[in-house]
Symmetry: C2
Subunit: 209 residues, 2 copies
């Protein structure tokens, strides 16, 4: 097994799905957390002046989706069958679409933010998450998103549901996703996994992004 | 080999990289092109009211990146080694970042579009494409982005370079990427591949997106 270090800020954000993949797969890794005061110094040493970054036997890998897929492969959470893997990647793609819609507006105008977040809740979520719910229903009864085992698709979903449920998003109802039963089922199955509950006992939840 | 249909509009856009993967891999497929007049009728039959869509032995796969990775696997354009595959996925992730920046503004205000496109050319491209250029240099001399053979990373790059070079983007110089030698090398290697040149003799380039 390669020597793995996952570098990110001391929050869940764009690294937590990869952390959980490694935790569930029982892959030993260094969970490096960069303090914001040190980020300015560390930033130019990353490939795209951004985190997360994975270091595998001294080699850097960047981009959160690439990191998650790599960790998922090591952990046995990414199907070897190409068509099953395509379903997993499809879920990841939709979650990316939803996340982009969630952060579409990044300015300081509170009224504009409220307007964009209303659109997110009333248009984007029904469009994307509603469609994803139907896809998961077609994929099977669950609890896992694709097939009979946890995959990184469940970790993508877990990331989205956590972001909404924690109530950190201004002008977004934290119950927004509760009606999507199949999606919540996948989220709950991840959160109830023994390795995941053990992880959150050691690493209390901090910030989200 | 499964029976494959790739459905998209009659343009390159978000399907062309997948088409090229299948073409290079000599995988037989139906290249279904939806006429805009028929789209309203076809739209609700797609998983996310969007194209491209792949149909594999009657099963639908959505999301362009999922489709491309699946086609890449069939065609032998996606490494089986997880770390090499992570490099390929990293390239795909950066190209996604650049593409999002390219289409950040979608309104009708021409002055605002010019402002956003200026920012794209002067800030986003140096940031993302400049960093990608350095990564590719570290990955090797090329011409291929990752390793000694074409991968879907080259097809991601080809899509970006084509979009800029064709001059379809308002307020973006079509020579914007020409200084990124390693990136242009990957693009050229795709465009000069015998299967690709043969393809464009049969399928003249139409629109881009």
């Amino acid at each position: 097994m390669p020597e793995i270090k996952l570098t990110y800020f001391d929050m869940r954000g764009r690294a937590e799905a990869s952390r959980l993949a490694l935790v569930v797969g029982e892959i030993p890794f260094e969970d490096e957390r960069v303090v914001f005061d040190h980020w300015k110094e560390a930033k130019p040493k990353t490939p795209y002046a951004a985190l997360p970054m994975l270091t595998v036997d001294g080699m850097q890998v960047a981009q959160s989706d690439a990191i998650l897929r790599y960790c998922g492969k090591l952990a046995g959470l990414y199907p070897s069958d190409p068509l099953e893997a395509a379903k997993v990647d499809e879920v990841g793609g939709v979650i990316d679409d939803v996340t982009h819609a969630m952060y579409r507006y990044r300015g300081d105008d509170k009224d504009k933010l409220r307007e964009e977040r209303d659109k997110f809740s009333k248009v984007d979520v029904p469009r994307y998450v509603g469609a994803l719910e139907k896809r998961l229903e077609a994929f099977g009864d669950g609890p896992w998103a694709v097939g009979g085992n946890m995959t990184i698709a469940d970790l993508h979903i877990c990331h989205l549901v956590t972001n909404i449920r924690c109530g950190m998003l201004d002008f977004v109802d934290k119950d927004l996703l509760e009606g999507y039963v199949r999606i919540v089922k996948s989220y709950s199955a991840v959160m109830e996994h023994p390795k995941v509950t053990e992880w959150y006992e050691k690493k209390p939840v901090k910030m989200f992004s």
